[in-house]
């Protein structure tokens, strides 16, 4: 299931990624946060809203976006940990990072919960946004 998810991601098949997730599946991309004056916006919500939006925008900004699953570990109760290297060449601004046409490659850790019905119910992702910015030529923290 998780391997199929990253295969769909490699194929830029966002609908395919979503189809592997349960209705109401949750997503949290930990490094995504925007600090406004009144509140902080987080990269958190459902796969079918926030997830789809993020993946579509990423693929649009990095048209050669790809991934390599470097380790996949399955635990009890549907818990899965996947270490994944994700990279791509920037073609459009993304997440406050202006387009300098640079390429990035970053290690990520994805944590999934997969239901007994073999659908993804929860996705959490960790990576280092600072390294991402540095590789793409952006040196502002915000």
């Amino acid at each position: 299931m998780v391997a199929a998810f990253f295969a769909a991601y490699r194929a830029h098949d966002v609908e395919g990624m979503v189809d592997l997730c349960a209705e109401g599946a949750r997503l949290r991309y930990v490094p995504f946060e925007v600090w406004g004056r009144q509140r902080v916006l987080h990269g958190e919500g459902t796969v079918r809203t926030v997830g789809k939006l993020i993946w579509t925008a990423l693929i649009d900004a990095f048209p050669d976006l790809t991934n390599t699953v470097t380790s996949l570990r399955v635990g009890a109760e549907g818990n899965v940990a996947a270490e994944v290297s994700i990279g791509g060449t920037q073609a459009k601004p993304f997440g406050g990072i202006a387009n300098a046409g640079r390429r990035y490659e970053l290690p990520h850790l994805f944590l999934f919960r997969v239901s007994g019905g073999e659908l993804i119910e929860d996705i959490v992702a960790y990576w280092d946004y600072a390294a991402w910015k540095r590789q793409l030529g952006c040196l502002e923290v915000d």
């Binding site: 930990v30 490094p31 946060e33 600090w35 570990r73 399955v74 635990g75 009890a76 109760e77 818990n79 899965v80 940990a81 270490e83 290690p107 990520h108 850790l109 944590l111 959490v124 960790y126 990576w127 280092d128 946004y129 600072a130 390294a131 910015k133 540095r134 952006c138 040196l139 502002e140 923290v141 915000d142």
Partner: protein
């Protein structure tokens, strides 16, 4: 002791700032990879250095384990939140006595004798800089006013 017990003790020792207790849970040749710091090497050197810096900079450190499971290959996977008030320089960031909280994910490979043989830590260093008042990635030691 189970792999889960070992992991819980690891994070307890991290909160206590007890680097010796962390190392006592690990094999002598245990390795560490601190992904955002691009630091890879022996846990007894690179890991101890990081944990010592963390404990020194945040004497009131709290480590909250939010999720912990043991996967195949005896790998304990944990999501934690570290919280504290800065009281010393940390990873090159000058002390401004700021309170911070940071979500992290750790993977601990547990050997057959229940000792830790490898540790990998993931977090977003940009979030850490933001919380500690850093404005530019090329001027880590110059904090905001």
């Amino acid at each position: 002791m189970t792999a889960q017990d070992t992991a819980e003790k690891f994070f307890g020792a991290m909160q206590a700032g007890n680097v010796d207790a962390v190392l006592a849970l690990a094999t002598p040749d245990a390795t560490v990879w601190l992904v955002p710091l691009d630091r890879r090497g022996p846990l007894a050197a690179d890991g101890a250095r990081y944990l010592g810096e963390l404990a020194g900079a945040f004497p009131d450190l709290l480590v909250r384990v939010r999720r912990l499971f043991v996967a195949a290959g005896r790998t304990a996977v944990a999501e934690i939140t570290i919280e504290g008030t800065q009281a010393g320089d940390f990873l090159g960031v000058a002390d401004q006595e700021k309170q911070f909280d940071l979500d992290q994910a750790w993977m601990l490979t547990i050997a057959e004798d229940d000792r830790i043989s490898a540790v990998t830590g993931y977090w977003d260093q940009n979030q850490l800089y933001r919380r500690l008042g850093v404005k530019r990635l090329d001027k880590i030691n110059i904090a905001a006013g």
